[in-house]
Symmetry: C2
Subunit: 489 residues, 2 copies
Amino acid sequence: MISTSNPISNTKVTVAYGDGIGPEIMDATLRILDAAGAKIEPEVIEIGEKVYKSGSKAGIQPSDWESLRRNKVFLKAPITTPQGGGYKSLNVTARTTLGLFANVRPCMAYSPYVETKHPLLDLVIIRENEEDLYTGIEHRQTNQMTQCLKLISRPGCEKIIRYAFEYARAYNRRKVTCLSKDNIMKMTDGLFHRVFDEIAAEYPDIEKEHWIIDIGSALLADEPERFGVIVTLNLYGDIISDIAAQIAGSVGMGGSANVGDQCAMFEAIHGSAPDIAGRGIANPSGLLNGAIMMLVHIGQGEVAAQVHNAWLKTIEDGIHTGDVYQEGVSKERVGTKGFADAVIARLGQTPEHFKTISYAAAPKPIHISSASQTPQKKELVGVDIFLDWNEGTARQLGDAISALSDSPLELKMITNRGVKVYPDGVPETFCTDHWRCRFKGKAGLDGALDKTTIWKQLALLNEKGFDTIKTENLYTFDGEVGYSLMQGE
Amino acid sequence: MISTSNPISNTKVTVAYGDGIGPEIMDATLRILDAAGAKIEPEVIEIGEKVYKSGSKAGIQPSDWESLRRNKVFLKAPITTPQGGGYKSLNVTARTTLGLFANVRPCMAYSPYVETKHPLLDLVIIRENEEDLYTGIEHRQTNQMTQCLKLISRPGCEKIIRYAFEYARAYNRRKVTCLSKDNIMKMTDGLFHRVFDEIAAEYPDIEKEHWIIDIGSALLADEPERFGVIVTLNLYGDIISDIAAQIAGSVGMGGSANVGDQCAMFEAIHGSAPDIAGRGIANPSGLLNGAIMMLVHIGQGEVAAQVHNAWLKTIEDGIHTGDVYQEGVSKERVGTKGFADAVIARLGQTPEHFKTISYAAAPKPIHISSASQTPQKKELVGVDIFLDWNEGTARQLGDAISALSDSPLELKMITNRGVKVYPDGVPETFCTDHWRCRFKGKAGLDGALDKTTIWKQLALLNEKGFDTIKTENLYTFDGEVGYSLMQGE
């Protein structure tokens, strides 16, 4: 369906038609790209519900997975992930396995053609895509407590933050805003903020700012026009992406890119909308906007701009699908096919109300090189040993452990849910069956600990009837403490 | 300053004047309470900047801490926590140490008197206050990776969710909405959602719903009028509380309660605003709204309603401090003292535009009893051992560990940042120096593992040059898996 008159210069693109409204909007999108002269050669794979139900927990066959790895560019319509049954989100798998570390979500208000309380909203959210609580590492080790690990790495922070600044430069954005919660999570979110400050210093032409995520989200919800590029961690990015799309009124219009060092995936931000599937009324704009980002990524910025401008003109001209149709504002209600025809008819035209788009400054994908890090000297100085214990008060527990003779390490403190309860706790503190005991080397024993003392401590505790459930070693790095301190420590 | 004409029935309340605008707004608040006939006896303590700088890292002297524990009711003006220097947030300490598990934040639009895009906003956020990522347990164990623990307990979930339903009943709210991210965090957020469903079943008179936090936040930002009571985890609650207050236009007007089984703390949601301190222009409404919640809590609902109605009448009458003053809407610009005088002058009056408040149905504090839990049978079935390793590919690591003879346990899989990289990884996956190795009992060995096999495995790995940094035991509970499964497991 895409022109193959000049096959040599065509870029192979893996294409999936997906579920629900997917096939309709993909047809419309590819038809527009074809008419605009996009030099792409689609390689169609099947993903989604049918594949899940045929027994693939991942929703994709191995041979189709190879297509992604080979072509490195993926245009993906929405899919339906069946509920329950241990099916894995294909999006999550693709992002993490293919190293698509950056989720890029432009978000814009199209007022007055699309209703919104925030007509000046025009921002891009760059969300870290691989780390944070989304690594999915959870454990239950006592009757009462469940735990999830939040993982934040320095290279992960560096890649996403550098990407944000490079993006700002390529797309003429003047400001990058960082959102984190580093007043509470001083090590993990603190690392993100610190790396942001380091990298921002390399981009003196771009304004930088940082907000605590709660205040930042509130400002975004109330005054989104104050933001340009926002870079943030995975969970926060998930939340604010939805806020921005919703208040822009453009959930049905947004496209999204997931970009890695080698591969990239482009899609609509909305789902497969099975309730309106097959009726020919779906708005193809979201996927089309994803495809426009794809064209820029593969170096076809001119075609991308042509499609984008024709699409803007169509919106301006009031040719609207039902989801954004407004009596008195819209001129003509069209279906999926009619909308695509209208965009095609306007190829070569530029918008009058909206600004004309040019991708001349951003013709290529943004490549980020990972800085190699000088390793710091790591020294073992103690261990947090976690217990499952439900037989008394914090003081009883602390006194019993402190009284153990032959203890290779010294008990410094106990916390329950992070609150210091021994020594010097108060009875008002609510305690669960999940206790953290911090052990360090005995006074007088200087220098790094030997790891065998930890196993001896574990063996002793268990021998005395304490149920050890997990350990976290305590380290210093070039002498700097690598663990959060407790009250009074 | 508060009437002591009938000292026997007065309730002792610990009061702190705080920093910045704190003393002015506390004066105004107590003057209004006095005029309304509140039966309270303030016991004044000093907290905040001066106390921090005198050397108390906690910002409160031990004797003043005893006042809180004795009186169990705390009316607190905003304080300034000095930056840096290891000072602990007094709020966080008070919440966790005194077991103030529920943060209660009513949020309302006062349109047209206070400008907002959401005139129908009228909701209450009930935020879990003790758990989640705010337990502050962070570790760095490799050069690249930092980690924070997210802790969610069943009793923690039960208390806050039961509180939310009891609150809804006491304050005539018809719907409780739960927000979580249980599609990603199936164990931690999954527990919260599951407990919500369990407890909701005990309140058939109250409508219940659940939204994934990203969609829920987007709806809150766009259509807040659809919510009544929202109950959610600590981090999400932090974010949406700020969103709701901001879009209501009422950051300067909101009060907040932190409530536990025994103690409770009442305050304004805003900070100490040092830039306008001492000028007599601060809006005392936030602290006053906190004090109204306190009066209800100590059983003085009639006085609370009287103050609340007089305050609403003052707002309606256009008597406004500078922060909410609007030309053409406001009638008179007043300072802190003038505003308090206006409220006092209206005691006994009821609002005309706003609904008259009555606390007749909620005369007492809400008490929650913790349900005792039948413990499930826990069985050790394996261990996740985390390594600091930077010497090659995932396959090299996996093959080396698999080849260890005398290994007491069997290597099942390796993940890096949650992505399965061994066996059957792909080279596109970006790997850090932080590896999780999942070990289980060897085939043929049935039943629960002995913990000593874990220490033997640790000893073997270290002997062979692998740097073990943390462990997470794997358990089943009544046969149900107590850890997240990896792809293909």
